[in-house]
Symmetry: C2
Amino acid sequence: MAKKTRITNNIRTLRFMAGEMTQQQLADEVGVTRQTILAVENGKYSPTLELAFAIAKVFGRPLEEVFSYEDE
Amino acid sequence: MAKKTRITNNIRTLRFMAGEMTQQQLADEVGVTRQTILAVENGKYSPTLELAFAIAKVFGRPLEEVFSYEDE
DNA sequence: ACATGATGTATGAAAAAGCTAACATCATGA
DNA sequence: TCATGATGTTAGCTTTTTCATACATCATGT
């Protein structure tokens, strides 16, 4: 992926809309560590496709409502 | 990602529906090598979220129409 | 004041994704 | 027949993602 692209996400918002779900709870549900959720949520790196799908599923949303792609 | 999940895709079908687009052309459009397209298309590994978004965009489809997530 | 829980930071190592390059197979057309 | 283009395979290497662990900060409640 040579192009400069950016992935943003609404995980933090969705967690709180889902009844104050903590990072740890989300991590447990998708089977990763809390650090991974933290890093993804804060945009340190973007998740694998599997993880992205898993997170979207927890919130009952299509993937594109959780993660946004912006090319540039 | 501890859970056993699988990502499938319709890249091959979409390429041919897009006027016999070759792996090389798709690779060029999304900025990766042909080997990467080949590996993703044949399920050797799943792409990063960025690449998945980029591929979906080339075909003008939502990401979930190109890649499918199946948990188990 | 102190314990607890949620979040953030940092580091080092493992695993997965992607690259380059070379070579093989197969179909098509000149 | 031979060249070409598309696809597939393999190997070694780099970069990115994830894990594991430890520690810091901050708000809350007792």
